[in-house]
Symmetry: none
Subunit: 210 residues, 4 copies
DNA sequence: CGGTAATCGAGACGGTACGTCATGTCTTACA
DNA sequence: TGTAAGACATGACGTACCGTCTCGATTACCG
């Protein structure tokens, strides 16, 4: 195979007719619209091709599968997700700065439907799973790691804290409500959740017995 | 339609040839095996029918879709999940009693793959979503609610606690690791997670500022 | 098998509950109506059972297959086809007496549709073919044979005539129009057809060279 | 739909991948073989696809139904049926030249089984009926018309003859034996049949009374 | 007159084919 | 070489029908 594939990157100019960047954007746009309207399962590649005014072959030249396209489309649509958490001085403020934009972004649209579909695919296809985590999981964990490390550096929380566990305690409840939908995912829940986790982490006199 | 469909119940059949219970079990068994081996997407109704020694029409007579069948099959396979949490006296012990069997059950097999597939379907089909929650979400929440209420009654935790939030804090991190697979879901993580949440809930001298 | 089947006859009394003749008639009636409305292919046994107010098992106790039922139903509906050809003295008159009632009967309703379906089945299943011919072909040939034999006895036509060929010449063109539908099958065509055949059979001076 | 369907023609394809003529032939060939072996009812589209080494979708892309495919397949297999009747000078010779190749063709193989199945379908579906007549009925009638007209032009038979009726008298008996199978369809029968019809048509002294 | 043996209504069931649809590949002609 | 158009293999889908079966309820007759 001569062209770089999978999750698309802009190729270096080669011989022959160059790939059209405009078409790539049209495909991503069309794919995202259809995903929003119908979800992944009900979005066919033919439909994407038609709405983008593009042939199926062109799509498959950029992405190897429908799922990879969906991953890219969702990721591209979220690129406007805003800047990373600013260093605001307290752990609580930084945790909220991390979590709130995500809640706003995700609670609004039909993101849960698309995300769970990608999640399911990630369980079936290990390679896709890697891509999924690299796009949607690790970036947020990296940000969170930085937040907790800064708090440790400031002395806000003990150095002995298991940061990985703390990250799961931070994000887990939010994803839980997003995916299962048993109760609303809103700013109030985010605050309560963050506060409780924080209370569990911050140093205190009596610790729970092992 | 005269017969109850979707999630099967065992009504009192009066007229006509009665449904074969043996075949129902064979179908559920075959479905579960295939789900374990291949996941939901790669399990075809034809394959289920063949392995169960049953015709496709028979399956569709009792389950409206592959997803509802998978829901039933997984649920039936988990019915041996063991007794509910015993009243062990302390909140921590009861939380662990709730969570540990689930972790063992889920971490062992390929449950995550099946569960995420069902989750994705639940997002696409509201009716299925209800069935999903009624089978896999609400029962555990009910148990957890009872656990927290007992702790309140005992005076272990303040009555003002938002139990629903607490439940999400308990289960969220566990599901998070199960679904995203970025780190192991084991007993150690369960203990740490429970302890931190507990520390966040239990009364202390200094509370976090609002 | 204890009961006489295939083309049904009224059985001799045996032990146990006797078969209901009324139900048999209801089945034949329902079958004929549906055949008229939809043709054989679009008539399902379930539909016959429902319209007759009878269970499928009852139908299959009388007839071995849908086709045999259809054969019986059409035959029963035609039993009112009128008396056999009267001996009217001339060959031409008797031929017309033979052919005209059939033309009237067949040209009116949707018989061609049913008959061709039975014909097709007769080609696939030799046993059914025998039943078909015994019901719809041989009776008419027998009548025609008698007609020609009387004409020979009267000296109207030479004894050397091949009666079997003559019968095919008489009926062939009529069936041709019935089945192919390229031109109307009416009394005028029947007369012309009969006259031409007659002219070919009656003795003349010059015969065609061999 | 942009492509011509039903009975295939060979248009000038412009855009996109052109239809594979080899596959078309493979389908027609496979269909004809299966029709010969099993008849129309027992020939499944899956079986045709498998034997032709082709997907079912490809078959349905070009033929709307099994029956239209069968029509095409039988027609294609008969295209080698030989040249049209030569002008041999006498009506009798030309009638025989018309009829004999058909008798040979049809009496040999299992054509009757296929033809009656198509006939039955023609009765159920008017559109198919048109196609059937256009392929299997009208061409032969056209040839026969020409034969009779030439005979009239030569003065062999009176101009007042009803040619349409004559054609039915010519073909009717042959189809009759083919379809009903009560007696052999062979060259001897064809000769006798033609001679009798001829005798009924040719001018004579005494005509039958009205 | 009560037991026995068949028929009957209802409907579950195995099997088989149907015709449709979506994925991802391939084949043309054109740009 | 990239692209639009669209044919193609593969394989699952959910439906429909046939003819068989399994129940419980019904009806005759026969002892």
């Amino acid at each position: 195979m001569s062209a770089p594939k999978g999750i698309a990157s802009t190729p270096a100019p080669r011989r022959g007719r160059p790939r059209s960047e405009a078409r790539k954007q049209a495909i991503l746009q069309a794919a995202f619209e259809l995903l929003e309207e119908r979800g992944l399962a009900a979005t066919s590649m033919d439909a994407v091709a038609e709405r983008a005014g593009v042939s199926k072959a062109t799509i498959y030249r950029w992405w190897d599968s429908k799922e990879l396209l969906a991953l890219d489309a969702l990721y591209a649509a979220w690129d406007t997700a805003g800047p990373v958490a600013r260093q605001t001085g307290t752990l609580r403020a930084e945790m909220l700065a991390l979590v709130r934009p995500w809640v706003r972004l995700v609670a609004a649209g039909p993101s849960a439907r698309i995300l769970t579909a990608l999640l399911a695919e990630a369980q079936n296809d290990p390679a896709f799973g890697q891509a999924y985590r690299a796009h949607f999981v690790e970036p947020r964990r990296d940000q969170a790691r930085a937040v907790f490390w800064r708090a440790i550096a400031r002395g806000e929380i003990p150095a002995g804290i298991d940061v990985e566990v703390a990250i799961d305690l931070l994000w887990g409840p939010l994803y839980h409500r997003l995916f299962h939908g048993h109760a609303p995912l809103n700013d109030r829940f985010a605050r309560r959740s963050v506060d409780t986790v924080l209370a569990g982490i911050l140093p205190r006199e009596t610790t729970s017995p092992d």
